[in-house]
Amino acid sequence: MTDSAPVVELRNMHKSYDVGLPNETEVLHGIDLVLQRGDFCAVMGPSGSGKSTLLNLIGLLDHPTSGTIAISGQETTTLDDAAITRLRGHNIGFVFQYHHLLTAFTALENVMMPMLGEQEFANPAMTQRAAMLIDTVGLTPWRDRLVGQLSGGQEQRVAVARALAMQPALLLADEPTGNLDTKSADAVFNLLRKVNSDEGTTILFVTHNPLLAARCDRTIDVVDGRIVARPPQASTDSQKAQQR
């Protein structure tokens, strides 16, 4: 893995379901995609077009039928499950439409989970980092509350903090604002924008909301399992600053 390598590099990636069966269905047809460090890219497309499948493949939660996926320069198609799990844990953060927080734990504890899982035993540095991330997402007063006691927007912000716990190079957000009201959705988007600009974290952001997509640096459209070309967004530095 090298720092100069693209964070995500997909080459001629295909994904089919029910391979070898009469009802075999190809949902992604030869996707090529490169995301560099610091990219903030929106993914748009109608339901069933393959957006979530694309995200699952980039997130190493699923395997392509053919083609290659490299994460931070590391080719992944030949790795075994343990190596993929490690690579995913260290390099990729996830935020889903539903937060999927562990309801038995507090907000702080949820953010600690990826670090605890990796290091096995808790330590003060881990706690401090989790507290700092909770602070970043503006939830310090709710830090020690069980996540079930938080509002939907707050839960999603905890999910963002958790996704950032391992300082990932790539953050995959699958409609993270889909279940939120406009105000909460805006807060979560601004949070992702801040992480992108402050940490240089590459963000792939699936959304149906064209207004939010317009605020990203780049948008790709997925239609019928293919990426449809779209001209780069004319976004000046001053406009970006305004958006943030």
């Binding site: 979530s52 699952n56 997130g59 939660l61 699923d62 499950d81 343990a82 799990t85 490690r86 995913r88 844990g89 260290h90 996830f94 889903f96 539903y98 999927h100 927080l101 562990l102 309801t103 038995a104 734990f105 507090t106 702080l108 504890e109 600690m112 989970m113 990826p114 605890l116 899982g117 990796e118 096995e120 035993f121 808790a122 330590n123 003060p124 706690t127 401090q128 989790a130 507290a131 700092m132 991330l133 909770i134 602070d135 503006g138 310090t140 007063p141 709710w142 830090r143 020690d144 958790r162 391992m166």
Partner: protein, 434 residues
């Protein structure tokens, strides 16, 4: 301390920022899998309480039944074995062999008549006694003369069985002094101990004289020094005890003995020890297991029944734990999926669910042991014999509790294997999407 302005709805007191010391939410010595397993159990506390209750009931039944049946068996065996030796050595029986033409291998005398078994002593009994007495499994070996005799009082006569022995040794094999109801267990050359029924039949008591005629025709007059009750009417009618020399005289067996009675440390090993003695000495060796085959079969059947109960209770406990964990895996599949997405390995997920099974088993076993112990204590308080004494002694050993705890924990672990494997094998994409 730095402070921040609280967002709407936040507490009004100063809010500590991340740079301040944050209390550690997790014990630093507790591994990740333990933390998650304990929290998952705590989160579903009603479900956890019910399954621990179920396991506890099962374990309580096992503890209660085990202590009860083991105590009952020990009591029964003790009662039976206080009246008989664990192993009895007797002379080899006379046998008749077919007459053969050894050269041709032809049987010439085809009709065989079983020989009469005349009263005879054990050959070289002193050396057999020394050999057996030196065995580490043997507690004591006592030589004896046993035979039949006739007692006469006035115009009443009775056929009796007599046992002549060395009291110091024999009383360690058969605890006769504890069965004496009148007089004492003293046995000098002219003394005899008789049973309660015989004493009633003959209308005699301690200090009375009794004429005893042996099978050899020798007659002697003995003084009754004690009357015993062995708890069996037939035995009390027929059994008598006297000194070894007196019996040798009555049986016309000077210096000889007809049996060597043995007590061993482990009553259940009696048959094996008997076989070993037979292979090394020229004697017949009968253990209490063969002479009381039906009783032993009953004890064995009871043990098998107890183990069957243990097995089926254990099985129901295992199914209970497994079903709860299967439900838990389904309930938590999204959380498992997100854990996997966060980089948690399959092995860690597997251990989280195995630990839950083990903890449910252990928790249930601890509660069940307490419940079982309470039940046993109540049992000893409320079940009494007519005379107020306890029916039998309950055996409450630390081993029983340790064994139960270990087995229940293991059962929990085994029961958790399938749910844990299901959890570990969950496809994160499928789990997250539900």
């Amino acid at each position: 301390m730095k402070t921040a302005v609280a967002p709407t709805g936040a507490p009004t007191e100063p809010i500590p920022l991340a740079t301040d010391a944050v209390p550690q939410p997790f014990a630093r010595w507790l591994p990740f899998e333990w933390i998650v397993a304990i929290r998952f159990l705590r989160e579903g506390r009603v479900q956890t309480a019910f399954i621990i209750g179920g396991v506890a009931l099962g374990v309580a039944v096992i503890v209660f039944m085990s202590a009860l049946i083991t105590g009952l068996q020990s009591s029964l065996i003790e009662r039976v074995l206080t009246g008989i030796p664990h192993i009895q050595l007797t002379p080899r029986k006379d046998i008749v062999r077919a007459l053969r033409d050894t050269a041709a291998g032809i049987r010439e005398g085809a009709v065989l008549q079983a020989p009469l078994q005349r009263l005879k002593g054990i050959d070289q009994w002193q050396s057999v006694l020394a050999q057996v007495g030196a065995m580490p499994e043997v507690v004591v070996a006592s030589p004896a003369v046993a035979g039949s005799a006739v007692v006469v009082r006035g115009d009443v006569s009775r056929v009796i069985g007599l046992t002549g022995m060395i009291p110091d040794l024999y009383f360690r094999v058969v605890q006769l002094p504890g069965k004496i109801v009148k007089g004492s267990a003293r046995l000098d050359g002219t003394d005899i101990l008789i049973g309660t029924e015989l004493a009633t039949d003959l209308g005699i008591g301690v200090g009375d004289k009794l004429n005893v005629t042996g099978t050899s025709g020798t007659m002697t007059t003995l003084t009754i020094t004690g009357i015993f009750d062995l708890g069996n009417k037939y035995v009390n009618e027929r059994s008598t005890f006297m000194a070894l020399r007196t019996a040798q005289t009555l049986m016309a067996l000077p210096g000889g003995v007809t049996s060597i009675d043995i007590t061993v440390h482990d009553v259940y090993a009696a048959e094996v020890i008997a076989q070993r003695i037979m292979s090394s000495a020229s004697v017949e060796a009968d253990s209490w297991i063969t002479t009381n085959a039906q009783f032993f079969t009953a004890i064995t059947a009871q043990t098998i029944s107890m183990n069957a109960i243990r097995f089926f209770v254990g099985l129901s406990v295992a199914f209970g734990i497994a079903s709860v964990l299967v439900v838990s895996v389904v309930q938590k599949s999204r959380e498992i999926g997100i854990l996997r997405a966060m980089g948690i390995a399959r092995g860690q997920v597997l251990r989280i669910f195995l630990l839950q099974g083990g903890l449910l088993g252990l928790g249930g076993a601890l509660a069940g042991s307490v419940l079982g112990f309470a039940g046993l204590t109540a049992w000893t308080q409320f079940t009494r014999a007519d005379d107020g004494s306890s029916l039998f002694t309950l055996e409450l050993s630390a081993g029983l509790f340790g064994w139960t705890l270990g087995l229940a924990t293991l059962t929990g672990l085994v029961a958790a294997v399938i749910p844990a494997l299901r959890a570990a094998r969950l496809d994160p994409v499928v789990a997250i999407n539900g």
